[in-house]
């Protein structure tokens, strides 16, 4: 099926061809496995039988003849006289036995010497305890009766109890651990230890609504990442740690500096202008995660628009402490996330935080250094100045202080902006000299205490970051308290509170030059040593600008040390859930949670700033509350041993409220004292927002034996945001889903395939919208004119009173196959997703009177393939190598836009000559720029001045990458382990504002051509060239990066007389170097906004980090 589809898509054939080439690499890996699979062991004995209507006792005899097994039974039991037909070839005896006996009502046990005792089957009550290797009970582990649809879960103390016959096989599985099979013998009180799953096959995963399910039952792809892999080599924003780890995930950190937001796009962007960020659900409670963007109303955050000159205000996921994370489950497709209905369109990421496990103390400490990486490759032939001349004096130098259109660098003594003459030589290390060595020190302490009927976990974490940006950093303290209790039998209570205090100091300004240290450091003229820009102010506090001709070019030191952009956030994420199970197995679960935060933003543009800031001081307070409550009722029914039926129904309620008060003003009354009350001119602004959603849903899971599973669900959402005053709008929409899984390996007699499953799912999900878009409203400006109030239309968008909910439907088909006792596994998915009627804000010409129009617009399609290949090429007592390669191909296409709209303008580059557009028939986020104009002969048409004539605007490709791959490797030798991750993205485009300004300012190497012949016309020539042929700045953003390296040593506990249970020290490094890139002067990952890729300017330069990590368990 997949193959057929590949062949049908002719236009993309060459891309698929590349995919096939990449697949060849995996073939080589498979060969490695074949060489390493070991021969038979005793229990691997096989038999070949072909008998017709033969008594069971006779068959047993035949097996004894072919193997070393010996059967002990009482021939008097009539079950042994049953006749049966059987044909097997080279089948494992151990696999054959259950088939022979179970159907015939017999139970058996096998001893190590091959002695098989067969008895009449009898039901018995089996009790057991499931623990990890350290003996901590595992609550919620699944115990399934092999071959049937019957399953149970362990309670809080890891205990379970079930009815089974001797000889039955129990499959015990738990999230993050390798599953284990046990053949029931006489022993009815079992103690089962599970081994952590290093291959991350994750046989049990967390699914929608926090329900843990065996992966085999799922008709869709779910990838689970263990918390441990997020804390080895840390990222301050935990989402960044997912880079290259999950197929189908496009994780991009932004060049936003300290505490900045991260973009996570699952299976391609599916929204034309709303957020494409997934829903994050923490312990069942959804958490809002809209970073500041084009649709964000925060007046002070970086929206990524052309005139934006503001810091990145971060996102919510970045607040989460990675040490508290037990696991992350990525629900990629609609089928997986269908139960989240209107919040699921961009996928769902479920985060489960750690709960109390055993009793003990865990401590970890991590210290990493950050070092800036200079990506520019400027010309160093000509120096500061203009018209090809050295500045004659200080005033002239200052007037064109930002220009590198001077004379040839000849080492002579030349006056600079401050009037001091210095050697006219290249200054190549300005970036290194300006940025500091940053560092991050994280210390976490967790206390676990288990007691009868419950467990507690308390963790405290402290992160202290000093950014590479001078005078900037981030402090974060996280407190997490988790309690799980079973106060009375069958009542489970789970209470969690996560309190985060995050203070970011001086979030750097992005994009434009005003107040931005990044911008001014990167564009400093070639002959100016950035260190000469110190001191950055006079004794009177006035900025000493290096470019007096354009005071918007702020002295980078002044920007870093005098401008203040601080945020303080306190966030409490709490949840309480209770689940009661009745005698008959019916359970009722109620859950309530709140994500509450206050955010305060404080910025100061001091009085000495050469350009005047719009507001000298801004003090903004925001409160945000998202309350979610839901209930779920369900019960599992067994219709005989073969059929299982599990219906669940539920309902949920969500209310989101926020308010924001902004006090701001100008002119400090007392110089140097920066308070809101100490301003001459003050104004206040206030906004509120509220929305509510109500939902009902139901699911039905159907299981046939242990190899066929079918799940259907339906959800209906009612939105307050669609209500329009006076109109009886339809407020709800129904989202159905159906998915199925077929574990074919259960029916297959294969030695090489240890597990195999086919899955398929189809679902419809959606995306909600923002409040207050259905009616025109008016309000007042904060300021008044000599007492006259200034009224205005409240919003910059045209409201729409007839909005309807958007929908996205997705079909996915996939397979999960594991070979050679799980030494090699393949997880492959094909998907096709179509979004329709999305509620978006379309950018419209300013002459319409509004900046945007709210519309139900258009249709987008994403289709792609994602593959995860994991293997252990080498594994022996001392050494093992696990390698996994994940690959994603996503083909995105805008099918249509709203009526009357040929193209949708998404964003404009600061240069004004580069655009981001959605164009029907092309992939989303096209980078559009001016092409050359060509004459009939195909020659480039030139203007009188020799510059290219401006041609038409042309789309040069999508800003979204088409290909992603991540290659993870883990080596372990005795107590040493080594891991590395290489990841790459391919096919995306980036419009470089840095390259554009490199032309304008005479820094770009391309401006060397003919510079002397052009003489004093050179600056104008290259400025015209840049404006007329802006396609020159469309970069291929493809890259391969050596993303992560870890080298660790685990000290055995006995070294410390077991006082310390485990101690691990490792060296970690992230973003160490680039293996491939195609951008000249920027990092390929330097988009400045998390809501869309493709535009770049004045972002933080990339940094490599490396350091040490220590983990201790007491």
């Amino acid at each position: 099926m997949i193959k057929n589809d590949l062949l049908q898509v002719h236009s993309n054939r060459h891309l698929y061809f590349r995919f096939i080439i990449r697949m060849k690499l995996t073939l080589i890996m498979i060969l490695l496995f074949l060489l390493n699979v070991k021969g038979n062991v005793y229990s691997q004995q096989k038999v070949t039988l072909d008998v017709q209507k033969t008594k069971l006792s006779r068959i047993l005899k035949l097996i004894e003849d072919q193997s070393d097994y010996y059967f002990v039974f009482n021939p008097g039991i009539k079950n042994f006289s049953k006749e049966m037909s059987l044909s097997v070839e080279n089948e494992l005896v151990l696999d054959l036995l259950p088939k022979l006996f179970k159907k015939n009502g017999l139970a058996f046990s096998v001893s190590e010497s091959g002695l098989v005792v067969v008895n009449q089957q009898k039901m018995q009550t089996v009790k057991g305890l499931v623990t990890d290797l350290e003996g901590h009970p595992l609550a919620g582990a699944t115990i399934r009766l092999k071959g049937s649809s019957i399953a149970k879960a362990t309670d809080l103390n890891g205990q379970f109890e079930m009815e089974a016959t001797s000889g039955a096989v129990l499959v015990i599985s738990y999230t993050g651990f390798t599953s284990k099979e046990i053949i029931l013998g006489a022993e009815t009180n079992l103690k089962i230890e599970l081994v952590p799953d290093h291959m991350m096959l994750n046989e049990v995963v967390v699914t929608a609504l926090g329900i843990t399910r065996e992966k085999r039952t799922l008709g869709y792809s779910v990838t689970q990442v263990n918390g441990e892999s997020l804390t080895q080599a840390r990222e301050n924003n935990v989402a960044n740690a997912l880079v290259g780890k999950v197929a189908g995930l496009d994780v991009t950190s932004t060049a936003g500096g300290v505490g900045s937001a991260t973009s996570v796009i699952i299976r391609g962007a599916s929204s034309l202008s709303q957020t494409n960020q997934p829903l994050y659900v923490i312990n069942g409670v959804p958490m809002e995660n809209s970073p500041s963007g084009i649709i964000n109303t925060n007046p002070n955050g970086n929206k990524g628009s052309q005139w934006d000159n503001a810091p990145d205000m971060g996102d919510a996921i970045g607040n989460i402490n990675p040490d508290d994370i037990e696991s992350i489950s990525v629900l990629k497709g609609a089928a997986a996330s269908a139960l989240y209905g209107s919040r699921a369109k961009a996928g769902v990421i479920l985060i489960t935080t750690k709960s109390g496990k055993g009793s003990g103390i865990e401590f970890s400490s991590n210290f990493v250094l950050e070092q800036v990486m200079d990506r520019t490759d400027w010309q160093y032939v000509y120096g500061q100045g203009t018209n090809g001349e050295k500045p004659a004096d200080g005033a002239a130098a200052a007037q064109v202080g930002g220009s590198s259109w001077g004379a040839r660098l000849d080492g002579s003594s030349v006056p600079q902006f401050d009037g001091i003459s210095r050697p006219y030589i290249a200054q190549k290390d300005n970036i290194e000299n300006f940025y500091d060595n940053g560092h991050t020190w994280t210390n976490s302490l967790a206390l676990n205490k288990s007691f009868e009927g419950g467990a507690l976990r308390l963790s405290i974490s402290d992160l202290r970051n000093k950014s590479i940006m001078p005078n900037s950093g981030l402090d974060r303290q996280s407190y997490s308290l988790t309690g799980t209790f079973e106060p009375i039998n069958r009542l489970k209570i789970d209470a969690r509170a996560n309190y985060i205090i995050e203070d970011a100091k001086n979030r750097p300004m992005l994009s434009d030059g005003a107040g931005s240290a990044n911008y001014n450091a990167v564009f400093l003229p070639t002959s100016v040593d950035i260190r000469d820009l110190k001191p950055w102010k006079t004794d009177a506090g006035q900025e000493i600008p290096y470019n007096k001709g354009n005071p918007w070019d702020t002295n980078p030191y002044f920007a870093a040390y005098e401008i203040v952009n601080n945020t303080d956030r306190s966030r409490l994420i709490s949840s309480l859930s209770a689940r009661y199970t009745l005698d008959n197995g019916l359970f009722i679960q109620g859950r309530a949670g709140q994500d509450y935060y206050t955010n305060s933003y404080f910025s100061v543009f001091p009085e000495g700033l050469a350009y005047s800031a719009p507001n000298n001081l801004v003090s903004q307070k925001m409160r945000f509350s998202d309350v979610n409550a839901d209930m779920l009722i369900g019960k599992s029914f067994s219709l005989g041993e073969d059929f299982g039926l599990t219906p669940n129904i539920g309902a949920s309620y969500r209310n989101t409220k926020s308010d924001i008060t902004t006090n701001q003003g100008t002119r400090f009354l007392v110089p140097g004292v920066h308070t809101i009350v100490g301003l001459k001119n003050k104004s206040v602004a206030y906004a509120e927002s509220e929305q509510e959603m109500q939902s009902v849903y139901g699911t039905m899971e159907l299981a046939y034996k242990d190899y066929l599973y079918l799940t259907g669900s339906v959800r209906s959402d009612w939105f307050s945001t669609l209500a329009a005053p006076g109109l009886n709008n339809k407020l709800n929409v129904v989202y159905p889903s159906l998915s199925g899984s077929f574990v074919f390996s259960e029916l297959l007699e294969s030695n090489s395939i240890s597990f195999g499953k086919l899955r398929a799912g189809y679902a419809v999900v959606g995306q909600a919208t923002d409040p207050y878009q259905t009616a025109l409203t008016y309000n007042f400006k904060s300021e008044s004119l000599n007492g006259a109030p200034l009224g205005q239309i409240s919003y910059d968008y045209i409201p729409n009173s007839s909005l309807k909910p958007s929908k996205a439907s997705e079909l996915e088909i996939g397979t999960d196959i594991r070979f050679f006792n799980d030494r090699l596994s393949l997880d492959l998915t094909w998907y096709k997703k179509r979004s329709e009627d999305e509620i978006i804000r379309v950018t419209i010409p300013t002459s319409v009177g509004y900046a945007q129009s709210v519309l139900n617009s258009g249709s987008i399609e994403n289709k792609g393939v994602e593959a995860l290949i994991t293997g252990t090429p080498i594994k022996n007592d001392q050494f093992s190598w696990t390698s996994s390669l994940n690959m994603t191909f996503n083909d995105n296409k805008v099918i249509s836009l709203a009526d009357g709209l040929d193209e949708q303008l998404v964003a404009t580059s600061r240069s004004g000559v580069g655009f981001l557009k959605n164009i029907p028939g092309m992939a989303m986020g096209q980078i559009v720029a001016f092409d050359y104009a060509y004459d009939d002969q195909g020659q480039i048409v030139k203007n009188a001045d020799g510059t290219p004539k401006q041609g038409d605007l042309k789309a040069f490709g999508s800003a979204y990458n088409k290909w992603f791959a991540g290659w993870n490797n883990e080596f372990s030798y005795k107590n040493i382990n080594l891991g590395f991750l290489i990841d790459g993205k391919f096919g995306g485009k980036l419009f470089s504002g840095t390259d554009y300004l490199g032309y304008i300012k005479g820094l770009h190497k391309a401006t060397l051509e003919n510079r002397e012949e052009l003489g004093n016309l050179a600056p104008k020539f290259y400025e015209n060239t840049a404006n007329n042929a802006s396609h020159l700045f469309v970069n291929d953003a493809s890259f391969i990066k050596f993303r992560q390296l870890t080298l660790g040593y685990s000290f055995p506990g006995k070294l410390f007389n077991d006082r310390i249970k485990a101690l691990n020290v490792s060296f970690v490094g992230r973003n160490l170097f680039i293996l491939m890139k195609k951008t000249d002067n920027i990092d390929p990952e330097s988009s400045y906004n998390a809501t869309f890729p493709g535009l770049e300017l004045g972002g933080m330069p990339p940094a490599r980090t490396f350091g040490l990590n220590l983990n201790v368990k007491f």
Binding site: A396, K548, F637, W718, T721, T777, I844, V848
Partner: protein
Amino acid sequence: MKMKTKSLKLMGLILFASAAIFQSCTKDFEQINTDPVAYGPTNFDPNFTFSTAQLTYTGSIDFAYETWRANLIYAGTMMQGLSSVVSYWAGDKYLNTPWYTSAYWERAYAEQVKPIVDVVEVTKTNPKYKNLHQVARIWKALVFARLTDLYGDIPYSEAGQGYYMKNLSTKYDKQQDIYMDMLKELEDAVSKLDAAADQVSGDVIYDGNLDKWKRFGNSLILRLAMRLTKVDEATAKAYATKVIGKTLQGNGENAFLKHDESGARVTQNRNSQVLLGDGGQEHYYVKWSDTFINALKSKNDPRINVAVSKLWMSDGVKEMNPNYVSDPAQQKGMPNGKDLGNNPAYRIGSHPSYTTMPDYSSPHPGMIKRNGITFILTYSESELLSAEASQRWGIGAAASTYYKNGIKSGITFLGQYDPALAITDAAAEAYANAHPLTEGLKQIGIQYWLHQNTALNFYESWANWRRTGFPELVPIVYSTSDTQGQIPRRFPYPVSEAANSNAEYYKAAGAAIPGGDNLTGRVWWDKQ
């Protein structure tokens, strides 16, 4: 089994029951989806919006955005009223800087057109706002007239109508059609002002005085009519004839907006924010042009008091020198087309007039107060236009009478900026008597230019120069100038229009401009 079906039934029942409950719970959704800190069209007084529309005509709330770029950087220097050596003052050197020439379009539609169109629309059928509606129509014509004068054919009939027409693009109307419609609208609106109807409470210019609005409307008709003398003299004459004698009656009826310091960029005087150096070194490096100062000095014009030297002593310090020099003899303008580079042909320091930068004359501090006023339409202007109409067609009173009134009031009106700029009536009378109308249109044109320069309304200086050719300015010569030595005659359309849904209209409109979509192309009324 029985038990199981019972459970199933129970669950089904709960599902349906909850669905029913939810349906009824969503009744308050309308209320939840109503912004609690906003007002609806029914309870909001459009007078509040009208105040905003009046304010934004004086310039953008976003740091004088288009005032800075269009009025000062371009029009002011091209008309040789101002002069600057700041490298990005593109108009001084006839350079094409697309992101400056597009500034007026970008801000005017968003900040001027949006509110005024809304006020006109919401008051259209509401008898409660009868006069507001008419006054808003007058203001709307004022807004669009400047837009079309700068660019030519522009979105007009569909502009600002996003909410009412649900349009996603706006067609470009022909300038000729726009002018005809504006004249018709003005005539109709003036005729419908009704003393018995509502008080225009949001009017921050005339405080709702309808008589003044009538004469303002007529003066505006005169301004628009006279714009057509080159291209459609018949229409020009017809409308001028209708309103001559019914225009503003004296400086007391000058239309100006008084700014407010407390609202920072939003309410402070636009020209002042720039000329006080808020965004750079304009305070130090922007001077009166020598063309303008020489014109005043050559005729001993008392308006030389708008010029003071040694007002700013340093490019880094934005404190005014309290001991600035106002002695007329010591005033000198700075030549246009100069820079701070090394080439002696252009280097300001190499010019014979150069001594020090502070020695060049700056606008008087009384004209650039943060709470100062922005002139919108003046009695002096109306009188000079009447003089021209009388001179051309012999309508109304004698041209010399209008001319004298225009000169006198153009001198005495300066006191409205600040008492420090006040000139006595006697001095004005003396000057007017010394310079009677002898050279007809040329003299009127020069006086119009002098007057609009002192009103810091360089948009109007530029438009009238393009129409009349007066004063006869000598273009500057600069090596990288983009106009082959010509003074620009219009702003190119914004490049951003090529990238949005107006792209087709933009291309067609650009192709239709005589001379092309550049600085030297011509708008319809600027017939060659």
